[in-house]
């Protein structure tokens, strides 16, 4: 059950594990087995803590300089004019 779910999860994470599926699943299962200890916790799961204590930090809505399109596109694997180029979705 867990193994099937892990294979499905890898697919959702856009990672292909076919080449070493057996080792990978074994390793992942060992991690899940180890972290299982959190299941001993009792408490109301609907009350999730705010660990950092930060709430709604705002900044002034001011116009500032930002990176130029040229600077951004320098790191793009494939671009065309002012656009990042990628296969069509449809």
């Amino acid at each position: 059950m867990i193994n099937e779910d892990l294979i499905k999860t890898a697919k959702l994470a856009r990672i292909n594990i076919q080449d070493n599926q057996e080792t990978m699943i074994k390793e992942l299962a060992s991690i899940l087995d180890y972290v299982e200890v959190v299941n001993t916790v009792e408490g109301d799961l609907t009350k999730q803590p705010n660990i950092s204590g930060n709430i709604n930090i705002f900044k002034n809505d001011e116009i500032e300089d930002s990176l130029s399109i040229d600077q951004i596109l320098k790191n793009t694997p494939k671009s065309s004019g002012n656009y990042i180029e990628i296969e069509g979705i449809f």
Binding site: A10, L12, V35, V37, V38, T76, E87
Partner: protein
């Protein structure tokens, strides 16, 4: 080499030899992924930067092949601050891919060696920065610490490693691993240099909403009480146990007061860490999809392009953590893993709040063992357990420092001191006294 040593030994006439020396010696150690061509002609303080921190115009890979050709168009806030305050960025240091690992063997580029013993790992993930300081290449270096990535390599390499409170240093420009844990910190040869660099890089930054200015006032209390958690040496190796006990003895003679305090469930804490961190990793690493920057494997199908790019260019540990994180956040398991881990995280934070009502700082070993051999076969869980003392402070965002407990002929052992949230300056002040006692 301390900052003072650098300032005393280098001048306009010999500053070129500074880089030449690194180039000559680093072929044995492999601390650096990139060394700047430019000569530090103004004799600024040289600082090495972990490759997880963005440097404008200088390649920044985070130790991953997926960013092999990436050159950031902007600086991390800490880089701007260093450059404005008389520091010279000398180069970028090796690390475990995306800061996931504790030996720097997970770098996609090279294996870094421990300058104290070339057959051993320098620790990780900031292994390049720690080894560069330990080898005497630079007086100071920046690292990042998500679960011990500054303190553990500092401990293995016999240097000082400081991870500030979560929020004390801006994370703007850090290549994110787990955003509620990641923190930039300092590696140096003594506490004075550590503090000097920390005072330059810390402070509120409008580009990081979680950042803040530390309170300026420091307690002037003379008698410091240090808490030792119960059974803290259980499962710790013999070398570490001896060095730890000797250090405590020295500190007792130095006038520090020790009291026993209860320990939280370490196994449970480590499990919480290894649920929440992968969850954040799966989200942060989703951006490496081959579209906007980094490597791409072309395909006429978009899903295949994402999958092929990630499969080819991400290493084994980032893949494992991404899958575990995706699993823990998936609708069927979210309650069982993530939500429960979060509740436990709060309980651990509450535990520390209580403890720091009784003590000024806490002490633990930094790691359960000394540096292990390069290529040693350890199971994932064994490796994860090596982080037990360092991950726990991060669950509560606390500042912690690793100081060398033992130097000389033997392999280095680190001793960790932990303070309450936002008590960074207090911790550094106490650490200077501790350092004096330990060296006596």
């Amino acid at each position: 080499m301390t900052i003072k040593d650098f300032q005393q030994n280098y001048n306009q006439a010999n500053i070129k030899s500074f880089k030449d020396q690194i180039q000559a010696k680093d072929s044995n150690i492999n601390s650096f992924l990139f060394l700047k061509e430019e000569i530090n002609k103004d004799l600024k303080i040289p600082v090495a930067i972990k490759d997880a921190i963005s440097t404008k115009g200088i390649p920044t890979t985070a130790g991953s092949k997926i960013l092999e050709n990436y050159i950031p168009p902007y600086n991390a806030t800490v880089i701007d601050k260093l450059e404005e305050n008389g520091y010279f960025i000398i180069g970028k240091t090796n690390m475990d891919e995306f800061a996931m690992g504790s030996s720097t063997e997970n770098s996609a580029y090279k294996i870094t060696k421990n300058p104290k013993d070339l057959t051993r790992v320098p620790g990780g993930s900031s292994g390049g920065s720690a080894s560069a300081v330990s080898a005497g290449f630079v007086p100071v270096a920046l690292g990042t610490d998500t679960g011990g990535s500054i303190r553990q390599p500092a401990s293995f390499c016999g240097v000082v490693g400081f991870c500030p409170s979560y929020g004390a240093v801006s994370r703007y420009g850090v290549i994110a691993m787990a955003s509620s844990f990641d923190q930039i910190g300092v590696i140096a040869n003594n506490v004075e240099d550590t503090e000097k660099v920390f005072n330059v890089i810390r402070g509120k930054d409008k580009k990081d909403a979680t950042s803040f200015d530390l309170p300026a006032e420091i307690s002037t209390k003379e008698k410091i009480t240090i808490g030792i958690p119960d059974n803290i040496l259980e499962g710790v190796s013999k070398e570490v146990k001896i060095a730890f006990e000797e250090s405590i003895e020295k500190l007792k003679q130095g006038g520090f007061k020790f009291i026993d305090v209860p320990m939280t469930n370490l196994n449970q804490a480590l499990a919480v860490y290894y649920i929440i961190v992968p969850s954040e990793v799966s989200s942060n690493l989703a951006r490496y999809d081959g579209v906007k920057y980094g490597k791409r494997v072309e395909s006429d199908d978009l899903i295949k392009l994402y999958t092929d790019t990630r499969t080819k260019y991400l290493g084994a540990e980032p893949k494992r953590r991404t899958i575990i994180g995706t699993y823990a956040l998936s609708s069927g398991y979210y309650d069982a893993y993530y939500k429960k881990a979060n509740i436990l995280r709060q309980q651990i934070k509450d535990y520390y709040t209580d403890i720091f009502k009784k003590v000024d700082i806490l002490v633990t070993p930094t790691t359960p063992t000394v540096a292990f051999k390069i290529g040693a076969v350890l199971s994932l869980i064994e490796l994860y357990k090596g982080d037990v003392f360092t991950t726990i402070t991060k669950l509560a965002g606390l500042p912690a420092i690793s100081l060398p407990a033992q130097v000389g002929e033997k392999l280095p052992v680190g001793i960790q001191f932990i303070a309450n949230h936002k008590k960074d300056l207090q911790l550094l002040k106490i650490s200077k006294k501790v350092e004096q006692c330990l060296q006596s």
